[in-house]
């Protein structure tokens, strides 16, 4: 008598309910987080970083309240209080751009290794939400919001209740941004979706610029619903404050839950832009006349054909430039932008530059070419990538800045050159010291693990901002030669570090370590 189930049998299928599925998805986030943290090589550094994060956050939330003029109800404190609704909206805009540019946010586990596990899109959504703060732009904006709130209110009783609302806002804005990012990613993945998203982006930018040019942007800022949040956070009425907390908290919870829906929809669609790159035919180009030229061409193709690089650099080049354009930044302040853009550009791939070749690294290393030439090509391609993005930003910012003085122009040119060399040198040094095997196919991929990326971005942001501010000051000095004189030691220092990394790359054992690490 047969005992095995027949194909015609209607076997009862054990179906998990929605609650059980959600519970399982949440539990899986914990499993993945533990898996990722277990692979951290420098645990002590992780603990120190966490301690530093808590300290800086507490410092930002409290210390400015005790600075002279804080909470005065007039002057700068009042100005900042009035600006707070706009800053809350700005934070939301930043998180939307960040999540949308990275295709729905970062992954707890990269796509290929995750493919063999039953990881639900809900887990993926929650993981992306969890990783969103591990981004220097998010952290700086969050700290700035806490600090501005503290300064605007001073050491009053209001401060604690206001900071509670600000922290909740950070979470709610991030969760809402995540929902929008999943929706946009879902749209991108339908036929012609990419064109639709581009049209939407142009439309939003055009509308913003139109409002700015017509002088109505300030009115829009004044009418923002975030004013209601700011009024609630400083309200004398406990009921009003509690209502504000409730609404922001409900927004956070609602967005976290709701985000799973578009995450599931997006996960069931094929990423069109990756498909276009991988299935499209690329026209043949003639051989380059030089070895360096051919290597540069290969590296350039690896960069510009990668979805995360193209998308990331577009956002990096355009966003600060448009902000500068809308804000009518003067030339002296434009010097801060190239450092910001170059740092962001390096974080797209430069900090792990040898991962560009992926598993092809072993084959490339077997080709008869001097390692110096390979290094020069990679450094050149990284440099031009960063410089191109910075130039677009500066060009946009320059539209309304008027004619620069010779000193302003010299300071800006010096900044562009100095920060580019500075960032290239730092990126290639880190690429050599800590290579990671990563696949940069997906828009969600990052060249290094999230916690490492935070470290890199903090260090880059610090060094390039200091450089930008130095030249910003020099732009106001009449003698243009001063900028050039100051640029020389900056350049000499960065070039020396770049050459030291180049020498290290030429050492066969060290190079083999890097190649075999990225080619796994």
């Amino acid at each position: 008598m047969p005992t095995a189930a027949s194909s015609t049998d209607t076997a009862p299928v054990a179906r998990e309910g929605l609650v059980a599925q959600t519970r399982r998805a949440v539990a899986d986030v914990g499993h993945l987080v533990r898996f990722r943290t277990a692979s951290l090589r420098r645990r002590r550094a992780g603990v120190v970083a966490l301690g530093a994060f808590v300290l800086v956050t507490l410092g930002a939330a409290v210390v400015p309240a005790f600075v002279a003029g804080a909470g005065a109800g007039s002057g700068r404190a009042l100005d900042l209080l009035l600006l707070l609704p706009t800053m809350l909206t700005g934070f939301l805009a930043l998180t939307i751009v960040s999540a949308a540019a990275s295709g729905g946010g970062r992954e707890l586990l990269a796509r290929d290794p995750a493919a063999v596990h039953p990881i639900s899109p809900t887990t993926d959504h929650l993981g992306a939400l969890l990783l969103a703060p591990l981004n220097i732009a998010w952290l700086l904006q969050a700290w700035a919001l806490l600090a501005v709130t503290a300064y605007a209110l001073g050491p009053e009783l209001y401060l604690a209740q206001a900071q509670v609302v600000v922290v909740l806002w950070l979470g709610a804005a991030t969760a809402v941004a995540q929902v929008l990012a999943w929706i946009l990613e879902g749209v991108r993945r339908v036929p012609h979706g990419i064109v639709g998203i581009r049209a939407l982006t142009v439309g939003v930018l055009g509308a913003t610029l139109g409002l700015q040019i017509s002088g109505r942007l300030l009115q829009v800022f004044d009418d923002l619903p975030t004013r209601w949040v700011v009024v609630g956070m400083v309200s004398d009425s406990v009921g009003r404050w509690a209502l504000t907390v409730g609404v922001v908290l409900a927004t956070f919870v609602g967005a976290v839950v709701l985000g799973a829906v578009p995450a599931h929809i997006a996960a069931h669609r094929i990423p069109q832009d990756e498909l276009d790159v991988e299935s499209g035919h690329h026209p043949v180009r003639r051989l380059s006349r030089t070895t360096l030229g051919q290597l540069v061409r290969t590296d350039r193709a690896s960069v510009w054909r990668a979805v995360p690089m193209r998308r990331g650099v577009a956002v990096l080049a355009l966003a600060p430039g448009l902000v500068a354009l809308a804000g009518n930044l003067p030339w002296a302040q434009l010097t801060v932008l190239p450092g910001l853009v170059a740092s962001g550009g390096a974080l797209l791939w430069g900090v792990n530059a040898w991962c560009l070749d992926g598993r092809g690294g072993l084959w490339r290393e077997s080709l008869p070419v001097a390692p110096e030439t390979v290094f020069d090509a990679r450094a050149w391609v990284l440099g031009e990538f960063l410089l191109a993005a910075s130039l677009v930003t500066v060009a946009l910012g320059a539209v309304r800045a008027g004619l620069p003085s010779v000193a302003e122009l010299t300071a800006l040119v010096c900044t562009l050159v100095v920060v580019t060399v500075q960032v290239v040198a730092a990126s290639l040094r880190w690429s050599d010291q800590r290579p990671f095997a990563v696949d940069l196919r997906s828009a969600r991929a990052t060249p290094a693990p999230p916690i490492v990326m935070v470290g890199y971005s903090a260090r880059l942001a610090l060094s390039t901002t200091v450089t930008g501010l130095a030249f910003s000051g020099l732009a106001n000095v009449d003698a243009w030669q001063v900028s050039v004189l100051v640029a020389v030691p900056f350049l000499a220092w960065s070039t020396a570090r770049l050459l030291r990394t180049r020498r290290a790359w030429c050492e066969p054992v060290a190079r083999a370590r890097v190649i075999t690490a990225v080619a796994v």
């Binding site: 790159v277 991988e278 299935s279 043949v284 290969t298 084959w363 080709l367 001097a370 066969p508 083999a512």
Partner: protein
């Protein structure tokens, strides 16, 4: 016993990665016009030995001569002499197959290489995808392109690491042809694989590696059939 000098001459090769000794005392000699298979279980040191021969990984100790050049001191000359198909991937993900060929031709200073490249692409049934980026290739397509790239410049030493892994019968036949052609023009061929039958079919000599060192070198015939399978298992244990 042949009296001709070995094209690949490995003596007491050691490769260490930190605490791990991937290769511990491999001795190996391979000759012009012959194909030598490196057989062994996973982690036996086959791929690391191949990487050393390709000039990709420097030896920690021992002497390695490839086409008369010391891999430690004349790495560039070694790279000029070899054609290498790595075990993993071996392809730049966002470059097309043709761009791989262009890069190899440029760096090897090859003239009039296009006709041979097109011929090889057709033989490996990759002609239709020559202008697509390799990230979209299947595993088998990637393997076939890797073999093709290793053979493009008709190297003095052809190093094929797991060339049959996941490859369909047409790809296997094309790889056999590449090995035969290389032997016919007097090249020295080394094939690292864990597929004994294919190794026996394509090679003249078999070296078995175990635990990072070579345990036996026999003629391919001795590793053929059921008898060869038993002998091979005996060497692995």
């Amino acid at each position: 016993m042949t009296e001709t000098p070995a094209v690949v001459d490995v003596r007491s090769l050691h490769v260490r990665f930190g605490e791990v000794e991937a290769v511990s005392g491999v001795d190996l000699r391979a000759y012009a016009g012959q194909a030598t298979a490196l057989l062994g279980r996973n982690g036996a040191g086959k791929s690391t030995t191949m990487r050393v021969l390709a000039g990709v990984v420097p030896p920690t100790a021992g002497q390695v001569l490839v086409a008369g050049h010391d891999v430690r001191t004349e790495t560039l000359r070694v790279k000029q002499a070899v054609g290498y198909c790595p075990d993993v991937g071996g392809l730049v993900p966002r470059a097309t197959a043709w761009e791989h060929l262009q890069l190899a031709a440029r760096l090897r200073r090859m003239d009039h290489w296009e006709d041979r490249a097109r011929d090889l692409l057709e033989r490996f049934e990759l002609g239709d995808v020559a202008h697509r980026v390799t990230a979209g290739f299947s595993h088998g397509m990637g393997r076939r392109l890797s073999v093709l790239l290793a053979a493009l410049h008709e190297p003095e030493v052809l190093l094929l690491d797991e060339p049959f892994d996941g490859v369909d019968p047409i790809g296997v036949e094309a790889t056999f042809d590449v090995i035969s052609d290389a032997r016919a023009r007097g090249a020295c061929v080394l094939v690292s694989t864990h597929l004994r039958e294919l190794a026996v079919q394509s090679c003249t000599t078999v070296s078995v590696l175990r635990g990072g060192s070579a345990v036996a070198t026999v003629s391919a015939g001795e590793m053929a059939g059921e008898e060869g399978a038993r002998a091979y298992r005996g060497l692995l244990d």
